[in-house]
């Protein structure tokens, strides 16, 4: 074999082929063939299958998978952020259309991305099955006998001894078995092998990948995810209509909802008062009572940010919280037309919040005409004079509610769904006082009187609300099991060496026994020669070296004369 560098010629270094027959079974990795098929449909199908399950194509598909995942991380995805996608479409209409056609707004469920990973996993299965059979065959069979000409890449040693060849072989067999090699006598040599766990690990890893993929796909098809905002004292029962918003996988049906209900008794948020962590949540938890089924016994529990409540297959997460000022609205005659806690949405980490109060019906203006009222609310849980636009601390230190009222038509009857956090002001007029629009800061218990006897609005007290996300993601247990198996399989596959050792002992023409030992690992590793050295040392103790033959005895070739060169070279 000529010594060309692999890179210069572009051909892969011959490592694998060089292992030759002796090394061929050290791995179950298939060989690559690029032969064109002979004619015929079956020939083509076969060819296609062979290509698909070849290592070259597996590598290509892996590369494609990582390339294909990139656009999804750079282009907004409808699965994660619908509004960003809409923005992008508005700003780049042509590009948006193109992206739409290519499925780039939902890369991970697009046809082409699915095609890549499905092909990859078909290839994987096509690879695992034959490899498993082959491996089982290797386990049932015996390590191959010693090659006549030792492999040039093998570690090698030899010496001469006066011990009988049979005794040497027996000693070698016992020694190798003691070191947990699978060893047997084949002809004039002992053949042994160790490190089968490498292959087990490798197969386990690839099978675990399949388990993970199936679990993931299963989870995508049957998952559900819904959000519900609850004010302290409020409750929820797990039916579709109760959710504020709801998403589910394509095979999920409403019957799959776990029957349970829960009430939010109290939300507690306490915050660090000073130091660099001022404002950081110290406790952030919801005290709830819940019950399973229609008539289940109710139980108490606490839900925290990283500690969801598990009911049946569902998990209830605490995802957000905020304040809900209790508002009372009266008409000109003093009748209460509205009384409720109004959840406001936080705008920053100090829970500066905003929202609206909508009085839909029951209100009549001073002339007795039916009318609707709307109020814009802006809330600072801790108001510091001088800072009118944002709260300075997340807790209720010095709460102030800023209100501005409107009257007219809220537009809620137009049939178009409307946000509960925004006012449609097209048919609304602001309440005005001498200085323009009336806008006042209220503290708990204070009342703002509307101009011209239109009534009043009172900020009674403050409740807190919490947002709960209910999710069901079947298959996650399998995904986790697969992941753990993958790690252990991988570790076995990467850290365990599979290697072979041969010990040949034959009587030379001069009656002295020649011992030859060779060790071969699949991957280049310093461990194989080291181990061989240790084995040779141990065997040498039982078959000590014989004196060298006389220098002038020329009839017998001396194996030690050229230790670096071996037969076959």
């Amino acid at each position: 074999m000529s010594k060309t560098t692999p890179d210069a010629t572009g051909t892969p270094p011959a490592g694998d082929e060089d292992l030759g027959a002796a090394g061929s079974q050290l791995s179950t990795a298939p060989e690559d063939t690029l032969n064109m098929p002979s004619l015929g449909v079956i020939g083509w199908v076969r060819w296609f299958w062979r290509q698909l399950t070849s290592m070259r194509v597996a590598l290509l598909l892996l590369l494609l998978l990582s390339l294909g995942a990139i656009p999804g991380s750079l282009i907004p995805q409808s699965g994660t952020d619908e509004t960003k996608v809409a923005d992008f479409r508005k700003n780049n209409p042509t590009l948006g259309d193109l992206y739409d056609k290519l499925g780039l707004f939902h890369v991970y469920s697009s046809v082409w991305f699915s095609a890549i990973y499905i092909l990859l996993f078909v290839s994987l299965i096509g690879c695992i099955i034959p490899r498993t059979w082959q491996f089982v065959g290797q386990l049932r069979g015996r390590p191959p006998g010693a090659p006549q000409a030792p492999d040039p890449t093998a570690a090698y040693t030899t010496w001469r001894t006066e011990t009988e060849p049979e005794q040497v072989r027996e000693a070698a067999l016992a020694l190798l078995k003691k070191r947990r090699f699978r060893a047997h006598l084949a002809g004039d040599a002992v053949a042994a092998e160790k490190g089968y766990l490498r292959e087990v690990g490798n197969l386990a890893f690839h099978i675990a990948l399949i388990v993970m993929l199936i679990a993931f796909a299963w989870g995508q098809l049957f998952k559900m995810e819904g959000n519900k905002l609850i004010v302290e004292g409020g409750g929820f029962s797990n039916t579709l209509t109760q959710y504020d918003d709801f998403k589910s996988g394509s095979l999920f049906t409403a019957d799959d909802l776990d029957p349970f209900s829960f009430n939010l008794k109290d939300f507690q948020g306490t915050y660090e008062k000073s130091g660099p962590n001022r404002g950081t949540a110290r406790t952030f938890q919801a005290d709830v009572t819940y019950s399973l089924g229609a008539y289940g016994k109710s139980k108490k529990t606490i839900i925290k940010v990283n500690e969801p409540l598990e009911i049946g297959d569902s998990k209830v997460y605490l995802t957000a919280h905020g304040y809900a000022p209790v508002i009372t609205v009266r008409d000109g005659k003093g009748n209460v037309v509205y009384h409720d806690a109004v959840p406001l949405l936080p705008l920053d980490s100090n829970i500066t919040s905003s929202g609206v109060v909508k009085v839909m019906d029951g209100y009549r203006d001073p002339q007795g005409k039916r009318e609707q009222l709307g109020f814009e609310a802006f809330f600072l849980p801790t108001y510091t004079p001088g800072n009118e636009v944002s709260s300075t601390f997340p807790a209720l230190g010095n709460p102030v509610l800023n209100l501005a009222g409107y009257y007219g038509d809220l537009g809620v009857d137009a049939g178009v769904p409307q946000s509960v956090y925004q006012l449609d002001k097209t048919h609304l007029k602001p309440f005005k006082n001498g200085k323009g629009q009336q806008r006042e800061n209220l503290r708990p218990g204070e009342t703002m009187t509307l101009p011209n006897g239109a009534g009043s609005i009172t900020y009674e007290s403050t409740e807190e609300w919490a947002n709960f996300q209910v999710t069901r993601q079947p298959g996650s247990g399998w995904a986790l099991a697969g992941a753990i198996a993958a790690i252990f399989g991988l570790a076995g596959s990467l850290f365990i060496q599979r290697r072979r050792v041969w010990v040949r002992a034959v009587r030379g023409d001069d009656g002295i026994t020649v011992v030859e030992m060779a060790g071969l690992g699949r991957s280049e590793s310093a461990k194989v020669p080291e181990e061989l050295g240790a084995l040779a040392d141990a065997l040498y103790d039982q078959a000590p070296g014989a004196p060298e033959p006389d220098e002038d005895s020329t009839e017998t070739p001396n194996p030690q004369a050229v230790p670096a060169e071996r037969p076959g070279k």
Partner: protein, 294 residues
């Protein structure tokens, strides 16, 4: 080889190994000191100073952690100082394990200094707070292993780059060319390209299972904090891409027989993905990973 006398104590059998066919049989260089005694002394002084610098930097990281009252990886400044400390720690650990890696010092320390420079100028952020979603012990597991993996991958990448240089140098020599004086004085001291190649493979392969674990720990944490274990958030996606890229590299070496330069390019691409996940995603892409604050 002892000969003759029948009573002479014979040597123990010697194991001979030869380079695999197709590989150059080039011995390792002597190391940065170039076989010179004084050079070796300088090398020892440099390593001692590195240990000192490491201890000081470690103290800096611990002081920062004490000042913010949490683990020091809440933003990119903290991540950078922690990362470079761990990278030097990995290097010193390899030295302590008597691995032949002293040659790496120059490149590693240069880039660590660069990293620290960026950290204290561009990325500096005053002590601040963590959002509640970052309170979970899975976070500590996930981020600490991510930093360790990054540091080890980094050591692998430095070796891979040096391998590429050394390999072209050896090719040139083998082809009868004469490399420049500077290149020679520099590259002849490095280990043989085959040794560098092997070392970078070992480093990358050794840490790959830990990287797999890091991603899984992240998924478990995401499951607890956000209600789904995998959601194709940009950071998650790039962790996945990095993982697949390293899997490609291992595959290429284990099965496709792509040793040498081609595998080296794959390894560098994979490390590029890791870097992008860290810098690029934080700077150019917005996602749920809130420590992304630059």
């Amino acid at each position: 080889m002892k000969k003759g006398g029948s009573t002479a104590v014979l040597e123990r059998p010697k194991v001979v190994v030869r380079a695999a066919a197709g590989q150059r049989d080039v011995p390792d260089g002597p190391g940065a000191h170039g076989g010179d005694e004084q050079g070796d002394l300088y090398g020892r002084i440099a390593v001692s100073l590195t240990v000192l610098a490491f201890l000081i930097e470690l103290a800096g990281v611990i002081a920062r952690a004490a000042s913010v009252e949490r683990a020091p990886w809440g933003n990119m400044y903290e991540f950078n100082i922690t990362f470079s400390t761990v990278a030097v720690g990995v290097y010193l650990t390899l030295l302590a394990l008597k691995k032949n890696v002293r040659w790496m010092g120059l490149f590693l320390i240069t880039s660590v200094l660069l990293d620290l420079g960026i950290a204290v100028t561009v990325l500096y952020t005053a002590s601040d707070q963590l959002v509640p979603a970052l309170h979970s012990y899975w976070l500590y597991i996930h981020v600490s292993t991510a930093i360790l993996c990054g540091a080890v991958f980094y050591v692998g990448a430095v070796t891979t780059i040096l391998y590429l240089f050394k390999d072209s140098y050896e090719s040139k020599l083998a082809g009868g060319g004469k490399p420049g004086k500077f290149a020679t004085s520099f590259l002849e001291r490095l280990p043989a390209s085959a040794s560098l190649d092997k070392f970078s493979y070992r480093v990358n392969a050794a840490v790959f299972p830990l990287w797999t674990f890091t991603i899984i720990a992240g998924a478990i944490w995401a499951g607890d904090a956000w209600g789904r274990y995998w959601g194709w958030d940009p950071k998650e996606t790039w962790a996945f891409i990095t993982w697949v890229a390293y899997a490609c590299y291992l595959h290429a070496r284990a099965t496709a027989g792509w040793k040498g330069r081609k595998a080296a390019y794959l390894a560098l691409i994979a490390f590029g993905c890791w870097l992008f996940n860290y810098y690029g995603v934080n700077i150019f892409v917005s996602g749920k990973h809130s420590y992304a604050g630059v």
